[in-house]
């Protein structure tokens, strides 16, 4: 949890120390204890949501036999892949104060484009392994292209991210239908199905490993690099970031590019898992991805959010789906429970914010 929001960490100690000099000793000690509390809470960072996740895991382990099984881990982790990849990209975007509503549509478009390319060349007797690679590259490229388009429209035309990505959501969805007249594509190279369904050592499916690797890359990029620092800076105060010499436009285009690339990878993973591409892939994913990021402690106003928080948020969302079935909860009550736990997770995080603000 060491990648807790750096923006807020920088602001707090500096502002209070100057005032503290003129205080009485009694007040000073009370201030000091408060500051200690603040530091503890701060260090805890995303721990609040982590506590919610741990609580869920404990409760489900207690009420749902088989929750701690290999099969449930596989089901839950594979289910999480799609949302994790979309939420990772969404984390960067939300930290800059933007929103990307087109992630689900980019997933659908990139998987359909890759499938159409592969199905087209399959008939011509092309080799299967190069074809599978070509499909993978197509998926990632198409996602990246839509991402760049998002970033370009947002920065150059000065249209708000909400409107731009709502527009590209529609365009990408329409393009998905156009690619194969709204139909499914099946009959893909078997190597693609191998990619989506191989399991290493019984516990780690290949898509999960790929996703975990991308999580590490994103975590490093956001918490250990200048790129990450600038992402927070732009989200905290775009004007100040610009004055500080950051090329905000270029940075934002890169951020939306990342979101698009990750959606492309997600499209590839879903297509590989089901060895087919359907226009309904990703259609209902937007809100889940955004919810996972927000549960992870990100602020929709920008400047706040972490990759670890997003990982925790995504697992909360996924564990609810599998855990509630395992606990034999009626499906209609499942919906109620999911809604309640989402609010509880964000409320727990708000408590932390309030403690920090004191």
């Amino acid at each position: 949890m060491s990648d807790a929001p750096e923006g807020s960490a920088m602001a707090l100690p500096g502002s209070s120390s100057a005032e503290a000099a003129s205080e009485t000793t009694a007040e000073m000690t009370s201030r000091a204890s408060k500051r200690r509390l603040v530091r503890v809470v701060e260090r805890a960072g995303g721990l609040w949501t982590l506590a919610v996740l741990a609580g869920l895991i404990l409760i489900f382990g207690f009420v749902a036999p088989g929750f701690y099984s290999q099969a449930n881990w596989l089901a839950t982790s594979e289910y999480a892949v799609e949302f994790m990849l979309l939420a990772l990209g969404e984390t960067f975007v939300i930290i800059t104060g933007g929103i990307d509503l087109s992630v689900g549509a980019m997933l659908g478009l990139s998987s359909m484009a890759a499938a159409v390319v592969m199905a087209h060349f399959m008939g011509n007797g092309a080799g299967s392994v190069p074809l599978a690679i070509a499909g993978g590259v197509t998926a990632v490229l198409v996602g990246g292209l839509v991402g760049v388009l998002n970033g370009f429209l947002i920065t150059k035309l000065r249209v708000t991210p909400f409107v731009v990505t709502l527009g590209t959501l529609g365009m990408a969805t329409g393009a998905t239908y156009l690619l194969n007249n709204g139909g499914e594509v099946v009959n893909l190279p078997p190597q693609i199905a191998d990619l989506g369904n191989s399991v290493i050592a019984g516990w780690l499916s290949v898509p999960v490993v790929i996703t975990a690797a991308l999580c590490v890359v994103c975590w490093l990029a956001l918490s250990r690099t200048r790129f990450g620092l600038r992402t927070y800076a732009i989200g905290s105060n775009p004007l100040a970031a610009r004055r500080a010499g950051i090329n905000v436009d270029r940075h934002l285009i890169n951020v939306y590019l990342i979101s698009g690339l990750l959606a492309g990878v997600a499209g590839l993973m879903v297509m590989a898992r089901f060895a087919s591409a359907s226009p309904v892939y990703g259609a209902t994913d937007n809100l889940t991805a955004i919810a996972a990021v927000v549960i992870g402690g990100a602020s929709l106003f920008g400047g706040r959010g972490t990759v670890l928080g997003t990982i925790v948020g995504t697992f909360i969302v996924s564990i609810l789906v599998t855990g509630l079935i395992l606990a034999h909860v009626e499906p209609f009550w499942q919906e109620v429970a999911v809604g309640m736990i989402l609010i509880a997770a964000v409320a727990a995080d708000q408590v932390r914010v309030r403690l920090l603000a004191r």
Binding site: A64, G66, S69, A71, N72, L74, A75, T76, E78, Y79, E82, T173, Y177, N180, N181, G182, G183, E184, V185, V186, N187, N197, V199, V270, R273, F274, A275, S276, S278, P279, V280, Y281, A283, T284, S318, V321, T322, I325, L326, A327, H328, P331, F332
Partner: protein
């Protein structure tokens, strides 16, 4: 009036002459079509009716007939297959087919298409209503404009508005699924259902048919859970994996539609559960058909969307050309049951849905 400057008569003349002239051409054209059809004998299949009957009362040429067809969604293989059937029939009759619809199953999404089509004043409307009550008002407009309306697949509550309704029987389809699944699991054990979302009539009928059949005929089979996947393959997949874990003795799953069928098949495949847990699904989209052939799904209940589409267009043509007697007010088409063992035979695989029109 007769001496008005700007040629009212000139404007009117072709109008007056038009219908008469057109009627002559139409009569000739239709007579030749009828003659041609009669000459061809009884080659046309199933419910072909009007083209071989007399053309005496007809006043419309095929080329001027436009049938507006609004599917439930334009992206589901079921409706793409229906479109293929409808288009083939329209081509055969030489009439125009206007295929228009939304990409999402909802009355609010469908209504604008229906409203817009009214402005085109088609000869007949065929519609797959996305809501039994909400779609009545848009359909009423067509009835008021004296445009015949036929429903396909689903229907509306007030059937008096309709000239015909054509559907596959979802209740009996659910029963077929129950019979097949029961025989697969030896008439005893736990089964589960993966549904789409609550409140979709066709899906609920399938579930009811399935549940009633199980309750009536197979007392040793218990339905232990019903999950809703919101039309997400990924969710259906995760739910299936989890259900197998939550109910270790689970022997079968009934998937109510295409996304759930694909999710169930995929989950059974990755759990290597074929032979232990049996999946029976509705519909036969390409991926479902593949899973059936591979044995990850054991059986499919296949509807006949192509026949629904072609029959609807046929009836629309009959209504417009004055052959009301040929039109049955309620047509229920039988479902086809495909199993892994007969999935590759052409007599079954011809019922599989198509994913694009170019393939048909």
């Amino acid at each position: 009036m007769g001496w008005s400057f700007y040629g009212t008569p000139k404007y009117r003349d072709p109008e007056r002459r038009g219908p008469g002239w057109r009627r002559l051409v139409n009569a000739v054209a239709l007579a030749s079509v009828a003659f041609g059809a009669a000459a061809c004998g009884s080659t046309s299949s199933t419910s072909s009716s009007s083209s071989s009957t007399s053309s005496s009362s007809s006043s419309t040429s095929p080329a001027s007939i436009t049938v507006a067809f609004v599917p439930g969604t334009t992206t589901n293989p079921f409706y793409i297959t229906m479109q293929a059937g409808a288009q083939a029939e329209a081509n055969k009759l030489g009439i125009k087919l206007l295929w228009q619809g939304g990409t999402e199953w909802s009355a609010s999404n469908q209504t604008p298409y229906v409203d817009a089509l009214l402005a085109d004043h088609p000869s007949a409307l065929v519609i797959v209503p996305t809501d039994a009550t909400a779609m009545q008002a848009p359909i009423q407009q067509f009835v008021s404009a004296h445009i015949p309306v036929i429903t396909a697949d689903t229907t509306i509550t007030d059937t008096s508005l309709l000239n015909s309704r054509i559907t596959c029987n979802n209740t009996s389809g659910g029963q077929q699924a129950a019979d097949e699944l029961a025989s697969l699991i030896g008439d005893a054990g736990q089964v589960a259902i993966i549904n789409n979302e609550p409140g979709v009539t066709t899906d609920d009928q399938r579930e009811d048919g399935f549940a009633q059949e199980m309750a009536a005929k197979y007392p040793n089979v218990s339905i232990v859970a019903t999950e809703y996947d919101d039309e997400s393959v990924t969710t259906a997949d995760a739910q299936t994996s989890t259900l197998m874990l939550a109910y270790p003795n689970l022997k079968g799953i009934f998937a109510i539609d295409t996304p759930s069928g694909e999710g169930v098949g995929s989950a059974l495949q990755s759990a290597k559960a074929e032979g232990k847990v049996f999946g029976v699904a509705y519909d036969a989209a390409p991926q479902e058909a593949t899973l059936l052939q591979q044995g990850y799904l054991s059986a499919l209940v296949i509807q006949q969307p192509a026949l629904e589409g072609s029959t609807a267009v046929q009836y629309a043509y009959d209504l417009v050309t004055g052959h009301k007697s040929e039109v049955q007010s309620n047509v229920v088409l039988p479902d086809v049951l495909a199993t892994t063992s007969d999935a590759s035979s052409p007599s079954i695989s011809k019922y599989f849905y198509v994913s694009s029109l170019s393939g048909s």
